[in-house]
Symmetry: C2
DNA sequence: CTGAAAGCGCTAACAC
DNA sequence: GTGTTAGCGCTTTCAG
């Protein structure tokens, strides 16, 4: 899409002096050695109260701020985490990132951010190299597992360089992983529909190259089979996560599976297009068709009818990842040897709204 | 919301060696001085072909990667940009950030990310200090102008330290700014409704502490007044951007302004709740009520009816900000004196969909 | 073409 | 308590 740019150019005199005071300048201004200044800024005990006070005054006056770069170099510790993400324009990755930024801020760590150009890229090696060259203390690999994108670089080789926490992937022994239990989510959604009395439950899956999409689909299938219901191949289709794909696929699914009376859709965007289709075709939701989505995007409470969905707390996942990686970083300082490697899995929550409540009294809009 | 956490703990032997090769090691392994290695990795001409080849082999063999930290220190140039954002969980800020990451990657710059805990915080001073202490070459202040959040620190003082590009704010002479023309967007939306023959056009504004919300509202008002239509105070209400607020306010607006036959809503989420309300009340859109939103979120094409909205290319804004700040960084190396400080303003685009098309033949879903 | 010396800004280890 | 020396990993003089 073309946009017109308006540019107002004004020539103005600006000088970037960039005259940050150094420890040396502070030292000579205060008439002490750099060492003493160092002791003051690091709150070391062995400085006389008067000296400390005096040095502190000079520091304030010169607006001195120690260089984190120089410190990182000598301490071999940067208090910086590398974060690798992908698809920031989607709600999921950015929610996760938000959890990461807050937890990192709280712990006093800075963040070096890289966004992969796509979910499946083979540039992962160079991304890691760039992060290593900036001496990150740890890495959070916040890229969902898609296709072979976990296999470009051997994770164990990498972990030997620096602690790494992986997000959203199939648990592997020896790797630190934080995930949402998507299988549980898919199962919960489907069980809910079964409880509501629906018998013929279809599914619009996400792209099956995604681990999360496969997990959700398996949850759907297992719930049906365990309830003694059919879960055949004609009962599901594979989407791309986009509402456009849902829009395209829902007629196909109906033609394959005409008796369908409920549907578990693998994300809220695609569920939205199902609601739109239903509205267009005069199919009543939830009477003729029960619909459950996944993600609990903020809008879903305002769809028509309000969408029952599976809430996943990705913010929490981001926070947990930061805490986990920092834990490993701190531990490795002490005992150089064995580490507890954990897999943290968060459960999802069912958010019941009108789109699936055939039995109960239909209320108004309910938030999450 | 409470989530159950499942933790699988496995003790495993992992050793983080972190044995990155140094230039010294490469030098002695290759039997040359560190200086020669430095020349090779920086592609300097004055190395004999044989030496270069030999050194390069040793580098490859040792998997040597120069330390960006040490380089930054000595060169007084980090090739790192500070990015300050807020509200990453919203679609706008993360789209902008995505544009920033891609343009930065392309230009060979790393990104240090900070997210403000809220849009209005007075911690801005310390955020800047932290970025300075990491020697960022420039800063992108990607926080929308809300309330007094631009006045915590004098921007001119800051700019004297390091180049800064501000996003989404009222142009100020001497500051480098990249914005969307929200006034134009609001005007375009309203003119479109006028062209469709609507006469009584209401408005749900965003929170007026936001510069963008004020601009959109002024665009709405001016469009009406220039067309000789009324734009009184009873014709608008102030929301919070959330769908919940729209849901709460739309009855109020109707009671203030019963003859309303169209509405310009300041974002798509609130517009969604208007559509839901209309559906509930049996108000036909677009026949009884024309609706135009703002933002063009991906879902808006799948609302019912599909939502006419104003598309703003925030990805492009992010890219432009990176290019602008890098331009200033490079320029300041050469001529220490005068700089061209620019204000870049991008126009918005009207995306016509069913929710406002009373006159034209109603088609199906139209994408952007 | 190549190496030796100095130093970016800071801190660890040792003297006094 | 405080200062001195050395050096994190690299690049920039300046000799040779």
């Amino acid at each position: 899409m073309l946009s017109i740019t308006g540019t107002i150019t004004g020539t103005i005199t600006v000088r970037h002096k960039s005259n940050r005071a150094t420890i040396k300048e502070v030292a000579s201004a205060a008439g002490v050695s750099t060492q003493t200044v160092s002791r003051v800024i690091n709150n070391r005990p062995d400085v006389s109260p008067e000296t400390r006070k005096h040095v502190q005054e000079v520091i304030d006056q010169l607006d001195y701020q120690p260089s984190a770069l120089a410190r990182s170099l000598i301490r071999q510790r940067s208090y910086t985490l590398g974060v690798v993400t992908a698809g920031l324009k989607y709600i999921g990755p950015s929610r996760t990132l938000s959890g990461i930024t807050h937890a990192a801020e709280e712990a006093g760590y800075s963040l070096l951010l890289k966004e992969l150009p796509s979910f499946e890229t083979n540039e992962t090696e160079s991304i890691f190299q760039k992060l290593f060259s900036r001496h990150v203390d740890g890495i959070i690999w916040a890229v969902p597992e898609v296709g072979e994108n976990r296999n470009w670089v051997d994770p164990f080789t990498l972990v030997s360089e620096v602690p790494i926490v992986y997000l959203t992937m199939e648990p592997i022994e020896g790797l630190s992983i934080v995930s949402i239990d998507n299988y549980y989510g898919g199962k919960t959604a489907t069980l809910h529909l079964i409880e509501q009395g629906y018998k013929n439950i279809g599914h619009i899956a996400g792209p099956l190259s995604w681990w999360e999409a496969r997990q959700r689909k398996t949850g759907w299938r297992d719930a049906l089979e365990e309830a003694g219901l059919e879960a055949g191949d004609r009962q599901w289709v594979e989407g791309t996560w986009s509402a456009a794909s849902g829009n395209r696929l829902i007629p196909k699914l109906y033609s394959q599976f005409p008796e369908m009376d409920a549907i578990f859709v693998s994300n809220d965007q695609m569920a939205l297009s199902v609601l739109q289709y239903a509205c267009n075709q005069g199919i009543r939701v939830p009477e003729d068709l029960g619909v459950v989505g996944f993600d609990n995007i903020p809008e879903s409470a305002y769809f028509w009818p309000p969408l029952t969905t599976i809430d996943q707390n990705l913010y929490q996942v981001g926070e947990a990842a930061v805490r986990e990686v920092i834990k490993i970083i701190e531990e490795q300082k002490e005992e150089q040897r064995t580490l507890e490697v954990e897999t943290n899995t968060f459960k999802t929550n069912l958010v019941e709204r009108q789109s699936s409540l055939r039995n109960k009294v239909k209320g108004g809009v309910s938030g999450k």
